[in-house]
C-alpha cells in the first residue's frame, strides 16, 4: 500500500467529512445540525489544504464555516425553532432516495473513465493550466497564480462573482426589509421569547472580541494587500472584515452596529466595490485596450505592462474586498434582525 | 403565360383598408356605408381590368414576401379564382344595401363592427380565390374563420354565443388538426406548396399516403360542410340574414369547397386523381353520402333557415363530387356550380330574412298564404329555388348539366343517379314552400293581416339577385370561358 498515489490523511478526512455531512442532515435539532455543518466545512478546509488548494480552503474557512454558519444561526435564532418535527412523508422520501440513488449510480458509471487521483498528466492538469503556472510571473509579476488567474486571466468571472455578492445583498434587503411606512406588522411572538442563553451577557466574550476585532481587521487588510504573494485576496479579506463587524454585533449588540452601518452606507459601499471593478475595466477600454486588459493601463500606473497588470489586479481586489465586506454585513444584519433593524442575534 | 402584377394584392387589400376606414367612421353612418360601396366598386373595377387578360390565358402572379423557403405570400389569378372573386364582390353590393335596410332601423350601434368584419371577410375570401399556394390559402382561410366569428355572434344572446362557439370549434379544430398537418406533410414530402398543373407529388409517392392526405384535406377544410363536420353550418344560422346569405351561402362555404378544388387540382393533380381509383372513390363516397343525407335532412326541417342550411350542405357536396369525378366536365361543372348556387342561395337567404322581418315567420308551417302579402319577396324566393334545384332558365341548370356530363365521362353512372335523386329531393323541399305561400290558405289569418313588404332597401337587393339567377343562365358561356382557362392550366393532360 506504500505506493498508493494518494495521501493517507485524505481518505480519513474524506470519510469523516462524509459522516459529518450525513449527520448534519440527519440531526433533528436544527442548531445541532448547523454546528455539525460548520464542523463539516472546517473538515473540508483541511481536505482542500492537503490537496494544495489554500486559497479555496481559506475562503471556505471564512465563508463556509464562518459566515454561512452564522447565517443559519441567525435564522434559527430569529424563528426560535430548535427541532424539526418528523414529517411523515415516507413514500416521498423513498422515492427521492431512489432518484438520488439512480443519479449516483449514473454518475459512478463514469468512474473507470476518470483519470487517477493526483495524476499530473490528466487532461485537466495538462491542457490550459500549465500556461498559467508558466506565465503568471512573466505576465503579471504575481507569484500567487490563483490571484493572477482570478483577477486577470479569468477576471470577468470575478467581476460577475462580485456582482453575485452585490445581488445577494440587494436581494436580501428587498426581501427582508420591512417597510417602515407600513410596519404595523404584528411582531411574531417568537421574538418575545428569546433563547434562554443570551450571548450579550458574557463578559469574557465581549472583552475577547474587543481585543480581537482590531487584529482581525488588520489581518484582513493584509490579506487583501498581500494577496499577490500569499494566499488570500479580495474575497477572503472582505469576508474577514465583514466577519469582524459580525463578531462585534454578536458579542455586543446588533443595535450598536446598526447605528453605525445604515442601509444607505452599506448599499452605497457595496455598489461602489462593483463600480470600482467595472470602471477599471472601462478605463482599459478608454486606454485603447480590451475590457479588463490591465496592461493598457501602463501609461497611468507605474511600471511596465506586467506591473500594470499587477497593479490592476490590486485595484480590482480592493473593489472586491469592499463589496464583499459590506454585503456580508448587510446580509447578516437582515438575517439577524429579521429585517426590522432593531434587535436580533 | 405568367405575368407579375401587383393588382391581385391590391384587390385583396382594398376591403381590409376599407375595414380600417369603417372602424374610424363609427359616428358617421352615411360615410361609413359610402366607403363600403366605394371599396366594392373599386374592387369590381380592378377585377374587370384583370378579366380580359385572364381570358387570353394569362396568369397574373404576385409574391408579396417569402414566408418559408420556396413558399411565399403569393397570389395567382386564374379563371376559376377570378370568377369566384367576382361573384363574392358583386354579391357584396346587394347584401350591403340589404344590411342597411335591416340594421339601420334597429339603431344597433355595433353596426360598425359588423361592416368592418364583413369587409375583412370579403378580403379573405378573395385572398383564398387568388392564393398561389397552400400556405397563403390557409392563412386567408383562418382569417376568414376568425373575422366571421363576431358576425355569427352579432346578436350576443345565448343562442348566438352557442352557435358561435360551435362555429369556431368546428372550423378551427379541423383546420388546425387536419389541414395543417396535411399541409406540412405535403411540404415535407415535396418541398413545395405551390398549386401546379400536374400536382406537386412525384410519381413514387404512395397511393395510401395520398388517400390519407385527401381525407385530411376534405375534412380539414370543414367550411365545405362535409358530413360529419357539417353541424356548424345550421348552428351559424343564428346570425343576421345578411351574414347567413353572403357568408354562409357564398363566401365562407364556397371558400371551403374552393379550397378543396384547388388542393385536388393543384396539389394532387387531375391526372393523378384520375389514375388513382382509390382516391376518387373516397372523395365520391364521402361527397355522395353527404349529398343524399343532407337533402333528406333538409326535407324534414321546418325551420326555414335550417332547411336552407342543409340544402347548402347538399349543394356543396355536388361541387366536391364534381371534383371527385376527375374529368374535365366534372371539374368545369364544379367550378360553375360555385357562382350558380351562390346567386340562388343568396336570394333564398335574403328572402328568409325578409320573411322574418315582414311576418315574423321562422317556420315553414307558418308561411301558408303569405305570398299574397309579400308577393315580391316570394317571387324572388321562387326564382332562387329554381336556381338551386337546377331548372332552366336559371343558372343552376347549366352547372348541373356539366356535372351530369362529368359522371358519364368518367363512367361513374352511380353518381349520375345520385345527382338526379338529389335534384328531385331539392325540388321536393323547395317547391312546396313557394306553392303554399301563394296558394294555400293562411293558417293564421289575423297574425299576418298587417304584414307587408319590408323596406325597399331589403326588397331591391332580393330582386337584383333573383334577376341574377336568370342572368347567369344567359351569360353562362362567358363564365365557362373563365372556367376553361382554369381547365387549360390545371386539368388538360399534357
Amino acid at each position: 500500500m506504500a505506493d498508493l498515489p494518494i495521501w493517507h490523511y485524505d481518505t480519513l478526512f474524506l470519510t469523516l467529512a462524509l459522516l459529518f455531512g450525513i449527520t448534519a442532515l440527519a440531526m433533528q435539532n436544527l442548531m445541532g445540525a448547523a454546528i455539525v455543518f460548520g464542523a463539516y466545512s472546517f473538515l473540508m478546509c483541511l481536505i482542500w489544504t492537503t490537496m494544495g488548494a489554500v486559497d479555496v480552503a481559506f475562503t471556505e474557512a471564512a465563508v463556509g464555516a464562518g459566515v454561512s454558519t452564522v447565517f443559519i444561526f441567525a435564522t434559527i435564532y430569529n424563528t426560535g425553532v430548535s427541532a424539526t418535527p418528523n414529517s411523515p412523508r415516507i413514500a416521498f422520501k423513498i422515492f427521492a432516495g431512489l432518484i438520488a440513488f439512480g443519479t449516483g449510480a449514473f454518475l459512478l458509471s463514469a468512474l473507470p473513465d476518470f483519470p487517477d487521483w493526483g495524476d499530473p498528466k490528466s487532461p485537466v492538469n495538462s491542457t490550459i493550466a500549465p500556461y498559467y503556472i508558466a506565465n503568471s510571473i512573466t505576465d503579471a509579476h504575481v507569484p500567487n497564480i490563483v490571484t493572477t488567474v482570478l483577477a486577470d486571466y479569468r477576471g470577468f468571472d470575478t467581476l460577475l462573482e462580485t456582482t453575485v455578492v452585490f445581488i445577494a445583498c440587494i436581494a436580501i434587503y428587498s426581501i427582508l426589509r420591512i417597510d417602515n411606512a407600513k410596519s404595523k406588522v404584528t411582531e411574531p411572538d417568537i421574538i418575545t421569547s428569546p433563547p434562554a442563553y443570551d450571548p450579550t451577557d458574557s463578559l469574557i466574550i465581549r472583552q475577547a472580541s474587543r481585543i480581537m476585532v482590531p487584529f482581525m481587521q488588520l489581518f484582513a487588510l493584509y490579506v487583501i494587500a498581500h494577496g499577490h504573494y500569499s494566499p488570500g485576496g479580495g474575497f477572503q479579506g472582505g469576508v474577514i472584515l465583514g466577519a469582524s463587524i459580525i463578531l462585534l454585533s454578536i458579542s455586543f449588540d446588533l443595535k450598536h452596529v446598526l447605528q453605525q452601518w445604515t442601509e444607505k452606507k452599506i448599499m452605497i459601499l457595496t455598489a461602489l466595490g462593483v463600480l470600482i471593478y467595472a470602471m477599471v475595466g472601462l478605463a482599459c477600454i478608454l486606454m485603447d485596450g480590451v475590457y479588463l486588459d490591465y496592461a493598457a493601463l501602463d501609461s497611468v500606473l507605474p511600471g511596465d505592462e506586467a506591473y500594470a497588470r499587477s497593479h490592476g489586479i490590486l485595484l480590482v481586489e480592493i473593489g472586491v474586498g469592499i463589496t464583499v465586506m459590506f454585503s456580508m454585513i448587510g446580509i447578516y444584519i437582515n438575517l439577524a434582525s429579521n429585517g426590522r433593524f432593531d434587535r436580533g442575534l | 403565360m405568367e405575368e407579375a402584377q401587383s393588382t391581385p394584392f391590391w384587390i385583396v387589400l382594398i376591403s381590409s383598408m376599407a375595414a380600417v376606414l369603417i372602424s374610424l367612421c363609427r359616428r358617421a353612418p352615411n360615410i361609413r356605408e359610402a366607403i363600403i360601396f366605394l371599396a366594392a366598386i373599386i374592387k369590381l373595377a380592378l377585377l374587370l381590368m384583370l378579366a380580359p387578360g385572364v381570358l387570353d390565358g394569362k396568369l397574373y402572379t404576385f409574391t408579396l414576401i417569402n414566408l418559408l423557403p420556396n413558399v411565399g405570400l403569393s397570389f395567382k389569378v386564374d379563371g376559376a379564382g377570378l370568377l369566384f372573386a367576382f361573384v363574392s364582390v358583386t354579391l357584396w353590393i346587394p347584401v350591403t344595401i340589404y344590411s342597411i335596410g335591416l340594421l339601420r332601423p334597429k339603431n344597433d350601434l355595433s353596426q360598425t363592427r359588423f361592416y368592418a368584419c364583413f369587409s375583412i371577410a370579403i378580403s379573405s375570401a378573395v385572398g383564398v380565390a387568388f392564393s398561389a399556394n397552400l400556405l397563403t390559402m390557409f392563412i386567408f382561410y383562418e382569417i376568414l374563420s376568425l373575422s366571421t366569428y363576431p358576425l355569427v355572434t352579432h346578436n350576443q344572446d345565448d343562442e348566438a354565443i352557442k352557435g358561435g362557439r360551435k362555429y369556431l370549434i368546428y372550423l378551427l379544430t379541423t383546420s388546425v388538426g387536419l389541414a395543417l398537418p396535411a399541409m406540412i406533410i405535403v411540404y415535407q414530402q415535396t418541398g413545395s406548396l405551390d398549386f401546379m398543373g400536374g400536382g406537386v407529388f412525384k410519381d413514387q409517392t404512395s397511393n395510401t399516403l395520398l388517400t390519407v392526405l385527401a381525407v385530411m384535406f376534405l375534412y380539414g377544410f370543414a367550411k365545405a360542410g362535409l358530413m360529419p363536420f357539417h353541424a356548424w353550418l345550421p348552428g351559424a344560422m343564428v346570425a343576421p340574414a345578411p351574414v347567413s346569405s353572403l357568408l354562409h351561402a357564398v363566401a365562407v362555404v364556397k371558400v371551403g369547397v374552393f379550397s378543396i378544388i384547388r388542393v385536388m387540382t393543384g396539389i394532387f393533380g387531375v391526372d393523378r386523381l384520375a389514375n388513382t381509383p382509390s382516391l376518387t372513390m373516397i372523395i365520391c363516397i364521402i361527397a355522395g353520402i353527404t349529398l343524399v343525407t343532407a337533402s333528406l335532412i333538409a326535407l324534414s326541417q321546418d325551420n326555414l333557415k335550417a332547411r336552407l342550411a342543409y340544402s347548402t350542405i347538399g349543394q356543396l357536396s355536388y361541387i366536391i363530387l364534381g371534383v371527385g369525378l376527375a374529368s374535365e366536365s366534372g371539374i368545369a361543372g364544379a367550378a360553375l356550380h360555385i357562382p350558380m348556387h351562390a346567386v340562388g342561395k343568396i336570394t333564398l337567404f335574403l328572402c328568409a330574412g325578409a320573411i322574418y322581418e315582414a311576418c315574423g315567420a321562422k317556420y315553414i308551417s307558418q308561411m301558408n298564404g303569405i305570398g299574397r302579402k309579400i308577393p315580391l319577396t316570394m317571387t324572388a324566393f321562387f326564382l332562387g329555388s329554381l336556381c338551386v334545384i337546377g331548372l332552366p332558365p336559371t343558372g343552376g341548370f347549366i352547372s348541373k348539366w356539366y356535372l351530369l356530363n362529368g359522371t358519364l365521362d368518367s363512367n361513374q353512372q352511380w353518381a349520375f343517379v345520385i345527382f338526379l335523386i338529389s335534384s328531385l329531393l331539392n325540388a321536393a323541399y323547395f317547391l312546396p314552400i313557394a306553392y303554399k305561400a301563394f296558394f294555400a290558405l293562411p293558417s293564421d289569418e289575423a297574425k299576418y293581416n298587417k304584414a307587408s313588404e319590408p323596406s325597399m332597401l331589403m326588397v331591391i337587393p332580393m330582386l337584383l339577385t333573383a334577376t341574377g339567377c336568370l342572368l347567369v343562365f344567359f351569360f353562362s358561356n362567358t363564365m365557362y370561358q373563365f372556367v376553361e382557362q382554369f381547365l387549360n392550366v390545371y386539368a388538360k393532360s399534357n
Binding site: W48, A53, V56, T59, L108, W117, A134, I145, F235 | -
Partner: protein, 126 residues
C-alpha cells in the same frame, strides 16, 4: 481495492452530492433543504479541487525552491490553479444563494409560523 483507492475521492464526492440532493428533494424542513443545498455544493467543489490535485505538488504560489525556480516552475509540481479559481467563484455563489434562501425561509416562517413544507402547504390551501 486497487481499482477503487485511486478513485476514492470520486466516490466520496458522489455520495456527498447525492445526500445533498436527496435532502433538497425529500426533507420537509426549509433549513434542512438549505443545508442540503450547501452540502451538494461543497460536494461539487470537492470534485473540482480533487481533479486539480497532483501528487507531491506544492501550493500554487511560486517560490524559489529546490524543485523549481521562480521564472521556470516545474509544472507537474504545482497544483492546478484553474480548478481553484472556479471553485472560489462557486463558494461565493453558494453563500449568496444560501443567504437568499435563508431570507426567504424567514419570510415564509413569518407567514406560516413553520418551516415544515407540508404544514405550509396546508396553510396555503386553507
Amino acid at each position: 481495492m486497487e481499482d477503487i483507492i485511486p478513485k476514492f475521492n470520486y466516490i466520496v464526492v458522489v455520495v456527498l452530492m447525492m445526500t445533498g440532493l436527496w435532502s433538497m428533494l425529500a426533507q420537509g424542513n426549509l433549513i434542512k433543504k438549505c443545508i442540503g443545498m450547501a452540502i451538494f455544493q461543497t460536494g461539487i467543489i470537492l470534485f473540482f479541487i480533487s481533479i486539480g490535485a497532483k501528487n507531491d505538488a506544492l501550493i500554487p504560489i511560486l517560490t524559489e525552491g529546490a524543485n523549481h525556480t521562480f521564472d521556470n516552475p516545474n509544472i507537474d509540481k504545482v497544483t492546478n490553479p484553474l480548478t481553484q479559481i472556479l471553485m472560489l467563484t462557486a463558494i461565493v455563489v453558494g453563500v449568496a444563494t444560501l443567504g437568499v434562501g435563508l431570507a426567504l425561509a424567514q419570510k415564509v416562517y413569518q407567514q406560516h409560523d413553520s418551516f415544515d413544507e407540508d404544514e405550509i402547504l396546508n396553510n396555503q390551501t386553507k
